[in-house]
């Protein structure tokens, strides 16, 4: 235990930082949801929808998402390599740089410094800082794995390694730009080419931030918290390789019916269809793992987080390919359907899996128990209900929007002006904000539960224990 003490504090630092940025991101999300139906909720110039939206997405994807990925990946790597991190101090520097980076990201985005590339909004000085951060992460992950004390690399390590290499390639190529000032640059790629590079990056940033590292957590924490071994090692292997192979072909499904050459669109659609298979490989593996003893759903409070999480992953990876089809895309593209889809993945799959993993890790760092399983259960239900309300509402809005845009009179002219379509969204956008509140309430309980667990752990560490606890 002592050998890991310093590194565990780093892991906890990442987790707490992630939680902090997560709360910030969610609060901004609430403001954005309000701005959708009330222009008066904008406070120009800094707090307008246009400037805040990237703070929300970056704050949650990179603050909450990558922060948790750093922390939990380090935990997983240490456990699976049976040794502390190879460069403990480097990880601590990385933690501080990470927080400074996210803070600088929020400030510069509010000031309007943006590359206007989705999920790559940050301007070039921050891009360099992020590459440095990622190199630190890569050095520690690879160093620790190379010097591991366990011969076999478990499936979670594969996903961590794939994440490290893929994100590096994606982030560097996407952010190649022509600097034009201290916080201004122009994309190295122009027009159609710029679009193709952007969505090659944009889609795979989702793949390698919201999929592979989360699968690493799933494959590690599900068996650890239930005590049930992964159903099929062979299925893990097949799923892994086919997933990392197929993902990179699919970005252009974001550009269906745009001026991008048709063959790239079609190729992307075909591979997107194929991607259902490896995704469901992990879903099936998850179900059959718990299927060995379904009573765990009742007896172990974390099991339902993982099972519901992987269920949303399964739904997400069928809905996504459906959207890629031209016949569906022409109706729902550019509508609220798409944010509905994204939020099922992030509020369902990612949030469920990450929060459950944190519930698993935090008590172990402090050699204690979770503060309250009851609160964790309430958190689970609020998050689940909030997310479902949110996504379903957005899907209905999206279909309505798409249908009104396409509606014509008998003589072939358009039936609705743009604004007539817009005003019909307002009732749904009210509901969506309400859904966000329910979700936020769940997350507040989560934060409270984690903080109380740490407090309990610290109190316990403060008093000399009669007998050393054994795991």
């Amino acid at each position: 235990m002592n050998e890991y003490r310093y590194d565990y504090r780093t892991v906890q630092g990442f987790i707490l930082s992630a939680i902090f940025w997560g709360v910030v991101g969610l609060l901004i999300g609430m403001l954005l949801a309000t701005q959708m139906f009330t222009a008066a909720a904008n406070f120009p110039p800094y707090l307008t929808f246009g400037r805040l939206r990237p703070v929300h997405t970056n704050g949650l994807a990179f603050g909450l998402g990558v922060g948790s990925i750093f922390g939990l990946s380090y935990y997983i790597v240490m456990r699976l390599c049976r040794r502390p991190l190879l460069f403990p101090r480097l990880a601590r520097v990385q933690l501080w740089l990470f927080n400074a980076g996210i803070a600088a990201a929020a400030v510069t985005l509010l000031m309007g410094y943006t590359q206007s590339l989705e999920y790559a909004e940050l301007e070039w000085p921050l891009d360099i800082a992020i590459v440095v951060l990622w190199v630190m992460f890569a050095v520690n992950v690879f160093g620790t794995i190379v010097k591991r004390r366990e011969e076999q690399m478990y499936v979670s390590l594969w996903y961590v390694i794939a994440t490290v290499v893929a994100v590096a390639v994606l982030y560097i190529v996407e952010n190649l730009s022509i600097p034009a000032g201290p916080f201004k640059s122009y994309h190295l790629f122009a027009g159609v080419n710029s679009a193709n590079v952007q969505w090659w990056y944009g889609h795979n940033a989702v793949g390698f931030v919201f999929t592979t590292p989360i699968l690493a957590m799933f494959y590690y924490f599900l068996p650890k918290s239930t005590g049930l071994p992964i159903f099929s090692h062979r299925l893990s292997i097949v799923s892994f390789w086919s997933l990392v192979f197929a993902y990179l072909w699919t970005g252009a499904h974001h550009l269906v019916y745009t001026p991008l050459p048709d063959w790239i669109q079609t190729l992307a659609i075909v591979f997107t269809m194929f991607l259902i298979a490896p995704s469901w490989g992990s879903v099936v593996n998850g179900y059959y793992t718990v299927g060995a003893d379904w009573s765990k759903m009742r007896s172990n409070y974390l099991t339902k987080f993982f099972v519901v999480g992987i269920t949303f992953y399964g739904l997400q990876t069928v809905q996504g390919p459906t959207q890629a089809l031209r016949v569906v895309s022409q109706l729902i593209h550019f509508t609220d359907w798409v944010p509905g889809h994204v939020h099922m993945g992030t509020m369902g799959w990612v949030t469920m899996t990450v929060t459950a993993s944190i519930y698993y890790v935090i008590p172990r760092i402090h050699d204690t128990e979770i503060h309250s399983e009851k609160i964790a259960n309430l958190h689970f239900w609020l998050v689940l209900v909030g997310q479902l309300m949110f996504s379903v509402t957005m899907w209905i809005t999206g279909i309505q929007q798409g249908a009104l845009w396409k509606a014509t009179n008998p003589d072939g002219s358009l039936k609705y002006t743009f604004v007539e379509g817009l005003v019909r969204n307002y009732p749904y956008w009210h509901l969506r904000a309400l859904a966000g509140l329910v979700f936020l309430a769940g997350m507040v309980l989560f934060v409270y539960n984690v903080l109380m667990t740490i407090r309990k752990g610290k109190a316990r560490e403060a008093q000399p224990s009669p007998a050393p606890a054994t795991a």
Binding site: Q152, A190, W200, H333
Partner: protein, 336 residues
Amino acid sequence: MAGTIYRKPVAFALLATATVLVGTVVTMLYPMLRPEMHPRLESLKPFTALQLAGRDLYQREGCVNCHTQTVRPLRTEVLRYGDYSKAGEFAYDRPFLWGSKRTGPDLAREGGKRPDGWHVKHLENPQSIEPRSNMPPYAFLSRGKLVPATVRAHMDALGFPYAGEEIAALAQKTEMDAMVAYMQVLGSAVPRRAGGGEVLALDERNPLGDSPDAIARGHKLFAENCSVCHGDEGHGQPDIAPSLTDDVFLGEKGDMGDGAYFTLISGGSDAKKAIGRKGDQAGGMTAFGGQLAKDDIWALISWLRAQQAHERKEAPPMEKVEHQGGQPEQHQGGRP
């Protein structure tokens, strides 16, 4: 399965990288080497300094988060916005700004659709034009000054041509001027295809005549579609749109027939040629042919005629002529 790879992290990482790169090479790198990814329309011009400054502001304010800039080749989309987007229109777009969400309307064909004054009024206070809009106000752009040296650095970075005086002139311009200049250049590389613009014989008679039903429906349609620019009663608004109740039509004295009205409403400013009057140079009458059914356009004309008749009754002809003689610009809105 070769199980040893799971014991060799370096080999594993290399194999994973290679696997990831296959799709990357085929769908991203290889296309980049082909000319089809670098098309440029002959008619496409690099952005001027003022337009680029506007585009920078469009980026700064995150407009791309709510507005798309790509018209898909779908019938209703072409009707609503104009011709579908061509690959060769975006050669100077670094980055592309097609967007992914259409909370507000597409802007790919915005250029020339509306007068500058409309854009200024709308950007300063969107709800003054469309009370139900959810767009934030950008009045601060009117107070923001451009920094010529910064814009020059941006032009240099992109290698766009410019003249020294063009840069110097920026010192007199506001951020609002730049934003409006950018709005007006959007989509201009492609000849505007008016959404459903229909040209009728200029003296064709309105089949609905002055039926009360048509007038009532026309009034409602006018309130929904036209009053934002032409005012509630059709008297026009300075710098935005001319009066529709005087006897000036497209900048020239002397009214025209119902067919001319129909042609103009259906085809917008582009229909001026067919009508044979120049109108205002900067005129930005929207084409409603795609949005309004034929009968709706006739109903609008019924209401307009009724409104004109009503005005004539209120103001005796003599007085009106004198009034106009005194202030010839009044009804045209006094646009430069």
